[in-house]
């Protein structure tokens, strides 16, 4: 169905819902690359005005990617909670924004509405929100998960310790782990991106972290971020798998390019649950870890004319099916052809965090940039600070913020210390208790390697 809006005698026409969403999106290079962005600033505002007047029910009547063609669309519509949606069904997108900012929309109420919102609704309302709106609403919503540590509690900021090494050398990885643990990082997960996507490599690294964790009684969980099929094979052969990781995207075709689909994710989730390694809360263990990022569908040529932020929100429908322990957008990783500069990366980070929380996910963020984007560490500082105020569950801890394996700039152990200090936030309680026992002072490189 077509949408239109007239401003001072000029009528702007939008052919369908996906076009309206794309044209209403605040500027970013990826949508321009895809040829779907608004062609003028005025057209963008006209689209936002038309979107503001759109009733939420429109998103249930028109799929941005047809139901028959895409399993993510089917998941979104089949898991929509019509009963929870009923009280907000009469809202337009603009009215939803106003209501989200009101005192009536408490965190508890918003959490109960997670499955009343579709990703497209979340994306739509975010396009009408300023950065401060994205902060204020996300801040209300707590999504708390537990494995060995509890992540997402009010007043806490957790971190993934990311001790990557260009050749997966266990000594080099242990050196970075030691550095991070001594500086208070690693309470969300110790997670390694391996160079080699092999069962042997995954098993070696998981076993090393597991022995260290046992020897020094470190309350945390581990993950080696190989392809999910590699992790499953390692799991079947007895590797100590805590969290199961996969990169996901918001269209079936993009997920196919990652070598995954819902059936495979279902199998991995079931296999992980059967291990019973984590401490469950309320009978729903959190064992999955997902990474996402705006632009992944476009880069796989699998975006179907849908803007990259809406595609990203659709990935969250995939994630929430599995009650994940951790989800983070890797927001500036993909390069300037998708998010050109610090301003675009900042907005995307806050959109992703907001949409994820609204849809019920324990959102963290890999605040990052590449050296060919128009960004530097000042941008990282601004993004992580706004995310901290918005209540982000965790950020990354990389030595000196410089990932020497993936060649990109993320956040450092010192950045985590800064954010905890500036915003009066603490580590996960179990991890903080470990830090206070002083056990980290017994750590040594030789000890880690002989654990």
């Amino acid at each position: 169905m077509a949408y239109r809006h007239t401003i001072r005698g000029v009528t702007y026409l939008f052919d369908d819902l996906r076009t309206l969403l794309a044209k209403a999106t605040p500027p970013r290079s990826g949508d321009e690359l895809a040829g779907i962005a608004a062609s003028t600033a005025s057209e963008r505002v006209a689209a936002q005005m038309a979107l503001a007047d759109l009733p939420l029910s429109a998103f249930l009547n028109e799929a941005v990617i047809p139901y028959e063609n895409d399993e993510v669309t089917r998941l979104i519509l089949d898991s929509h909670n019509a009963a929870a949606f009923a009280p907000i069904a009469a809202f337009t997108v603009g009215e939803l924004r106003d209501w989200l900012l009101s005192e009536q929309a408490t965190g508890e109420l918003l959490s109960s509405l997670a499955f009343a919102f579709t990703p497209e609704m979340a994306a739509a309302v975010s396009k009408l929100m300023r950065l401060q709106d994205l902060v204020l609403v996300a801040r209300k919503i707590r999504v708390i998960t537990k494995f060995r540590t509890t992540v997402g509690l009010p007043g806490t900021l957790c971190s993934r310790l990311q001790p990557n090494h260009p050749t997966d050398d266990p000594t080099g990885i242990a050196a970075s782990m030691l550095d991070g643990l001594l500086l208070g990082a690693g309470d969300a997960v110790i997670g390694i991106n391996p160079v080699s996507d092999s069962v042997a490599s995954v098993t070696t690294l998981l076993s090393m972290i597991d022995r260290v964790r046992e020897r020094y009684r470190i309350p945390t969980q581990s993950c080696v971020l190989a392809h999910i099929t590699t992790q499953l094979r390692a799991l079947e052969r007895g590797a100590p798998v805590d969290l199961i990781f996969q990169s996901i995207a918001g269209t079936e075709q993009a997920n196919t390019s990652f070598g995954v689909n819902l059936k495979l994710l279902d199998e991995a989730y079931a296999a992980g649950l059967s291990l019973r390694r984590g401490e469950s809360q309320e009978g729903s263990p959190n064992i999955m870890y997902f990474e996402t990022g705006q632009g992944s569908a476009l880069s796989a040529n699998a975006h179907h004319g849908v803007d990259q932020q809406t595609c990203e929100a659709r990935a969250y429908a995939v994630a929430r099916r599995y009650k994940p322990m951790l989800v983070n957008t890797v927001v500036g990783f993909i390069g300037p052809e998708y998010l050109y500069d610090g301003k675009q990366i900042l907005r995307a980070a806050l959109e992703d965090h907001f949409c994820g929380k609204l849809l019920g996910l324990p959102m963290g963020c890999d605040v990052c940039y590449t050296t060919h984007a128009e960004a530097n560490d000042d941008d990282t500082d601004a993004i992580m600070t706004m995310l901290g105020v918005a209540g982000v569950n965790y950020i990354m801890g990389v030595p000196g913020a410089d990932d020497v394996m993936l060649n990109y700039q993320s956040t450092s152990f010192h950045d985590i210390a800064y954010l905890r200090s500036a915003l009066k936030m603490r580590p996960a309680p179990e991890f903080e208790a470990w830090l206070e026992r002083g056990l980290q002072n017994e750590l040594s490189l030789a000890g880690l390697l002989s654990a």
Binding site: N164, T371, N407, Y418, S421, K424
Partner: protein
């Protein structure tokens, strides 16, 4: 409220010995719980070098004579991306030749017999990497793969990897070897990549090529990189393919195991 990191616990022990075990930036010096001035300035310098590499222009005036001295007659081409700004925003334009360059190459190849190997030198995201490492790498390669000495050499500016497919197609190449400046990391502003593609033609995917990365003295040496390239060229010629199928062949590259 108690502040994290400012309690009475003993100070973090000296960890400077960790630096010997990883290129990662461990054991950085601090001011309070933040980074010390010297560390910040070092990070700033590394980023500055990487940024300068991204925005540097390939010095063809110094590269061309070096190639001519070695018997090549390099042809200088440009992609459809007009400048660095457009190049960074439009990867699609960096993957194809400008109209002028295409017709120039057409004229050059119109006498047109097929070529076994075409060498493409592309600036990519680090012209510095190309200027520093291309000639020494080719010097290491030619004794190992004699055909390289007779291969047409193309220099492509504002170019991405896939531009080699269009060039290879126009020159009827059986194989292209494309050398390109990789995206600078903070610790590696001048890393060169090599891509080998069998039967290049427009539309090839990255899964259909083999890549050798991180070629620079601090990473993969010229000699090792040349040996790997020669192995790939040989295997590609034998099996008439490149890409995932070649990479997964464990019989191939026995000295890498």
């Amino acid at each position: 409220m108690k502040e994290i990191g400012k309690r009475d616990s003993p100070p973090v022990p000296d960890r400077s010995s960790l630096r010997a075990h990883t290129p990662a930036r461990v054991a950085l010096r601090t001011a309070g719980s933040s980074l010390a001035t010297a560390e910040i300035l070092d990070l700033n310098l590394c980023l500055a070098e990487a940024r300068d590499a991204v925005h540097s222009t390939l010095s063809t005036a110094s590269l061309m004579p070096l190639l001519r001295e070695r018997g090549w007659s390099p042809i200088l081409l440009k992609s459809a991306a007009r400048d660095r700004h457009e190049y960074l925003r439009r990867p699609d334009l960096g993957r194809k030749l400008s109209a002028e360059s295409r017709s120039l190459l057409d004229r050059n190849s119109s006498a047109g017999s097929a070529n076994d190997l075409v060498i493409v030198i592309a600036d990519g995201l680090s012209a510095i990497a190309v200027e520093r490492h291309t000639v020494p790498l080719l010097d290491a390669l030619t004794p190992l793969w004699l055909g390289a000495a007779h291969a047409p050499v193309i220099i492509a500016e504002q170019a991405r990897v896939a531009i080699g497919d269009e060039i290879g197609e126009l020159l009827q190449a059986r194989l292209t070897l494309l050398l390109i400046g990789e995206r600078p990391g903070l610790s590696s502003p001048d890393s060169l990549g090599a891509y080998i593609t069998w039967a290049p033609r427009i539309g090839r995917t990255d899964a259909e090529r083999n890549c050798i990365s991180n070629i620079r003295p601090e990473g993969l040496s010229y000699a090792d990189a040349a040996a790997r390239i020669a192995h790939y060229l040989k295997a590609a010629t034998q099996r008439q393919l490149t890409g995932v199928a070649l990479k997964d062949d464990s019989l191939f590259l026995p000295d890498e195991a």
